[in-house]
């Protein structure tokens, strides 16, 4: 098993996460021939309606330093709990339009159970613990701050 690194890794990218990048990341794991299972979670910006207005985009901001430091602790805890081969996290900052991807969690392991459980736990912890905020952009220059449901 690969140990997680000592220094916090960056997880943030400006704007949406491209499906081509996701395909490339998957392709780059083909040389890791001990992997038997990948579990991937993608968050996509939804055209919710807020008081009869439709969300057209979400603008993400974060306390970046704190988010990376907390994400580092989450990584350490996940690697201690699950025998993962690797774990990659990407989260958008700035504007992400409806239909575009804002979160990409990619967990790989020898067996499926570990990859699936680790991926789900990382997604839950990201939503609960990382200081990131989404501003839902509506029509007519209006907006509403997003709230994550339990």
């Amino acid at each position: 098993m690969e140990m997680s690194d000592k220094k916090p890794k960056n997880i943030f990218v400006d704007g949406p996460i491209s499906p081509v990048k996701i395909g490339d990341d998957i392709a780059h794991h083909q040389k890791k021939t001990q992997i038997g299972a990948h579990s991937i979670f993608l968050g996509q910006v939804r055209a919710d309606s807020v008081d009869a207005k439709i969300v057209s985009a979400i603008e993400y901001t974060a306390h970046q330093e704190m988010a990376l430091s907390i994400m580092h602790e989450i990584r350490e805890a996940i690697f201690a709990k699950y025998p993962l081969t690797c774990l990659h996290i990407t989260h958008s900052l700035g504007m992400v339009n409806v239909g575009e991807i804002c979160l990409f969690v990619f967990a790989s392991a020898v067996h499926r159970k570990e990859a699936i459980d680790a991926c789900e736990e990382v997604v839950e912890r990201i939503k609960k613990e990382l200081p990131i905020w989404g501003k839902e952009i509506l029509e007519d220059n209006q907006y509403q701050w997003k709230e994550n449901k339990g």
């Binding site: 993400y60 901001t61 306390h63 613990e129 905020w133």
Partner: protein, 81 residues
């Protein structure tokens, strides 16, 4: 007299008006609880809001001390992902 740096995030920036601002405080330290009262007096709309405070990137309780030069983050519930 001391100066502390404050950062506000998410919905709280609508109340504080700026993401980043300073507060001048008499004395050499105050508690987080006292800091909150000062903030409520300056930004009355904050009082009804749910938020957590981090000092130098660590979440703190009301009893913690705030000293000169620290960085304070006012953080409403997270909504990433």
């Amino acid at each position: 007299m001391m100066t502390v740096q404050l950062m506000s995030y998410g919905a709280l920036t609508d109340i504080t008006g700026a993401n980043s601002f300073e507060l001048e405080i008499s004395g050499e330290k105050i508690s987080v609880a006292e800091l909150k009262l000062m903030l409520f007096s300056q930004f009355p709309a904050l009082e009804g809001k749910t938020f957590r405070i981090a000092v130098n990137q660590r979440f703190v309780s009301d009893e913690s001390d705030v000293k000169a030069g620290v960085q304070i983050a006012l953080m409403p519930p997270f909504s990433g992902g």
